[in-house]
Structures are given as structure tokens and as C-alpha cells.
Subunit: 299 residues, 2 copies
């Protein structure tokens, strides 16, 4: 399986997702920025802004190459002096909607190879509602579960727990949202071929547009108040905290001279912080906080 | 020199600074939150909000104790299995003004001791104007230089460079603001006694109120436009990026179960992000960006 095949499929995924989001938004249009990476390759960053539903979002494709960074050599237990080259390609998405009734969503699919023969896939989708609705969380997780189950019955339980652990803010004792699936270092082994793994990864990528446009449609006309809007800004503050403090991908990118503007496209257009804010007991905001826990079985 | 003496002086510093800020603000009043640390000691967090000049700011005193965290043992090259106890006390301040014409400021003075006999002081003050004014930067640095020079002529050049290095965002290739002074691991050695070091540290703390209230007074009536306000929100975004991605104190605090609300009091009430925003050539915003560089000799 050639790198080129994976790249092409990821570019096509980016195209299809952008089109689906534009159709559903009915106003916002993506603008594209093409860029080159300092050590090889580059990307197509696509930004949507000021849509009917989408306030700010990015759908990024990149395929970069270069010498393997010493931090990664260390992480992979490889000889720190090894002179190795990598290729990395992927699609990465975060959407921040105008309405607090529409959830934030994140998706990422990626492929990494090193010229010592090692290669793997990673990815995931997770949903961050400003207000957690049981019905939406169940719909989202069921969709993820059936996509996983088509490939391996162990995937969903394993990758769902992994998402609970990954999308977690220890300093807040909160999950980022209702989770989803997360996986990494998926290698051809245990009877799975690289082609089969890639089928799975693409299948995950293909869940994004139908699942998110369904949630956009469902909540596009929901009314909301100033209180709900203020809560959205505080929740976006938590999103910023997760991405800048805990997200390994963001940290790795920033510390190894990735393209800052593409990496930080995940940040919201506006976020607020209030000292020690605690929602009123019995409020919808308190109900949401109570559901930002690991280990909830939505399906 | 007893820990108690240092604690008392830091509490007194906190009291005096809060009073001076309230007098200068003429509206905002500090509210206090007393809290206890999970392994010993606690703090007095003081918050000012919705003032005439100060939109949100914190002046925190803390004095905490407990077993030395494994991450710190590692950092100090101590035996990873050592059963050591620490005490840490300090005052920490960040102020976010309403007006983009008034700078953000940060100050910290701290003392750390371990029951193996090691102890040291650290601290610093740095200024983050939304619009860099030569005159203000020179005034700020001159004040810091004369405070340093009263104690040791090597302090200012050394600690000024250290601030340039410390308050730097590599992923933006920008300094956080116009810098100031930063120092750490200041130990009794080279003929300096602990009392002399403490005198210096307190002197640094005592610069805060006069220098910042002078800038508050100078700019309190400055008019500003929507364009300048929007720029302030973007600069606050950079402040968030520095604190969450690069500030060692913040990261250490969050990763070792410090009190989240006190640590993240440094975050602004509102911050914005815009994709790849570049100010117009020749604009005041572009002039400010050009001055966010290391190594500018303001004095």
C-alpha cells in the first residue's frame, strides 16, 4: 500500500467533508491556504467562518516529511542518534458553531511511516456539546460503534475507553465532552493487513459528515438565551485548556515547529474565563457538568 | 531566617498591593477566597473584577507544603526515591485591564525550601502592553534596573535577558510583551546572605504597585476604538497561549494538582483567535509586533 494512495484518499475525504458542511451550513464557504512544511511536504488548510451555523472551523489536510524529531525517537524507544526520515499525512477537523445548542466536534485520521519499515494509523472523533443531550450522545456513540463493529468487535469498547482517557482535563476532573473514539499506533498485526486498517480509518473519517450535519440540522433552529451563550464561552475556555495543556498532538506540533496557524485552528473564535464559576444546582449547566465523566456507557 | 518571616512579609506585600490597586482603580474591590492545599498549607486568593480600569485580576498569596513531587526531584537532580518535604510560599499577580491602552502586567515573588537544607528565591515582573509605547517600556525597565542595581549591578542585565528568554512564544516567534526581569534558584552564595536575597526579592515585589498604578493613571482616560479593542482580544489570546503552553509555573501547577482556580486566574476574562491574522503594514498593531522581540535594550 503506497503512501500516495493514502494521501489521495485523505484529500478526497477533505473535499467531501468540506462540501457536506457547506451544503448543511447554507452560507459559510471554505477558503483554502496551501502551505509548505519546512522539512518537506505541506498542506491544504481550509477555513470556514461566519456561517449560518459554523462560526469558525477548519478542515485540514497535510502530508509532511522530514527527519524524525528526537522527541519522537525517544517516545518510540528508538536510538536517539538514529538518522531516520518520516512521512505523516492526515485530515484534522474542529468546528465551533455559533449556537450553544450545536455541539463542538473534532475528528482526526492520520498515517505515519518511518523509513525503518515502521508505520501506523491513528485517529478519532469526539463530540463536545455545550449542553449534553442524552439522545444526541447515544446517536453519536451508536454511529461510532457500528462503524467500529464492521471492522472488529473489540474496537469500539477499546477505542471508546481510550477516548475517555485521552479527552480528559485532570486539572478540572472533567472529560472534554461526551467522548467518542480514539486510537493510535494501529499496526498491521494479529491477522489485520494494512489495507484492512486503512479501510477502518477511512470508515471513521466517513462518519464525520453524516453525523455532524445531522446534529447541525437537528439544532439549527433551537432558540437560546444570553445565559446559554455565556455558558458556551466558558465551555470554549475549557476546550482551549484541553488543547493547549493536554492535547499531545497540539503540544508536539508546537514544540517541533509545526505550522502554528493550522495547529491552532482548533481554538475557538472567542473563549471566556470566570473565576471559580459554579452553575446553580439543578440547572441545565449543572446537569451537563455531571455528565462530563469517564466511563459512561452511552450505547 | 524563618519561613514564617518570609510568609508574613509576603502576606503584607499582598495586602499593600491590593490596597494600592483599589485606590487607583476607584471602583473595583478585591474579594478573598481562603483555601487549603491537599498536602498542607493553603492560600489567600484575591480577585478584582469589573473595576473602572481592571476588568479581571488576581493577587494571590500561598504557602503550601508536602512531599516533594517526583517531577521536581528529577528537575533538581535529586534521588527519585528520596522522601523529602517542601515548603513554598509566594505572591503571584496578573492584571487584565478593560482598556487596550493599559498594559497587562504580571508579577511573582516566591521562596522554596526542602528539608534537605536547600532553599532558593525566584520571581520577576513583566509588562505586556497591547500597544507598545517606547516611553512606557523605558519607564518600566528603568524602574526594574534601579531596583536591581540597589542590590547587585549584575542583576538587571542577567535577569532582563532571562525574562526575554522566559516570556517567549517559540511557535509565534514573539515575546509576550516588553519583558522585564525574571530570576530563579537564587541561593545564598558568592557572599550574598539569605537576608540580602530576601531584601532584593521584597524590593522587586515593592516595585509592582507604584509602577503599575502609574501606568493605570497615565492611560486611564485614553480613548480607544473597536479596532483597538479587537486587537486587545487577539493579544489576550497570545497571553493564554503563553500561559497554557509555555509557562513552566502554570504547567507544573496543573500537572501536580495545584489549585486550578488560583493558577488559572492569570487567564483573561475574554480572549479571541482569528486565523492567520496579520496587521496592516504601517499600522500601530504592526509597530507593536515589530517590538515583540528578544534583546531590545530599553534602558
Amino acid at each position: 500500500m503506497e503512501l500516495q494512495t493514502i494521501e489521495n484518499a485523505f484529500k478526497d475525504l477533505q473535499d467531501r467533508i468540506c462540501k457536506a458542511l457547506e451544503i448543511s451550513d447554507k452560507k459559510g464557504k471554505f477558503i483554502e491556504d496551501k502551505w509548505e512544511h519546512h522539512s518537506g511536504g505541506g498542506g491544504r488548510t481550509r477555513l470556514i467562518q461566519e456561517g449560518n451555523i459554523l462560526e469558525k472551523g477548519g478542515v485540514n489536510f497535510s502530508s509532511v516529511s522530514g527527519p524524525v524529531h528526537e522527541r519522537l525517537l525517544q517516545q518510540l524507544n528508538l536510538d536517539p542518534g538514529a538518522d531516520l526520515q518520516f512521512n505523516a499525512t492526515g485530515v484534522s477537523i474542529v468546528m465551533h458553531p455559533n449556537s450553544p445548542m450545536v455541539p463542538i466536534i473534532h475528528m482526526n485520521v492520520r498515517y505515519f511511516q518511518i523509513n525503518n519499515g515502521i508505520s501506523w494509523f491513528g485517529g478519532g472523533i469526539d463530540l463536545t456539546p455545550h449542553y449534553v443531550l442524552q439522545e444526541d450522545a447515544v446517536f453519536f456513540h451508536k454511529t461510532m460503534k457500528s462503524a467500529c463493529d464492521r471492522h472488529d468487535p473489540v474496537y469500539y469498547p477499546k477505542f471508546k475507553s481510550w477516548a475517555d482517557e485521552y479527552f480528559y482535563l485532570p486539572h478540572r476532573e472533567e472529560t472534554r465532552g461526551v467522548g467518542g473514539i480514539f486510537f493510535d499506533y494501529l499496526k498491521p498485526e494479529n491477522g489485520k493487513t494494512k489495507e484492512e486498517l486503512f479501510d477502518f480509518v477511512l470508515d471513521v473519517g466517513n462518519q464525520f459528515a453524516p453525523v455532524y450535519t445531522a446534529l447541525m440540522e437537528k439544532h439549527r433552529e433551537d432558540p437560546y438565551t444570553g445565559v446559554e451563550k455565556a455558558w458556551q464561552y466558558l465551555r470554549r475556555g475549557r476546550y482551549v485548556e484541553f488543547n493547549l495543556v493536554w492535547d499531545r498532538g497540539t503540544k508536539f506540533g508546537l514544540e517541533t515547529s509545526g505550522r502554528t496557524e493550522s495547529i491552532l485552528m482548533s481554538l475557538p473564535p472567542q473563549a471566556n474565563w470566570a473565576y471559580d464559576y459554579k452553575p446553580e444546582e439543578g440547572s441545565p449547566e449543572a446537569a451537563t457538568l455531571a455528565l462530563l465523566k469517564k466511563g459512561i456507557e452511552w450505547v
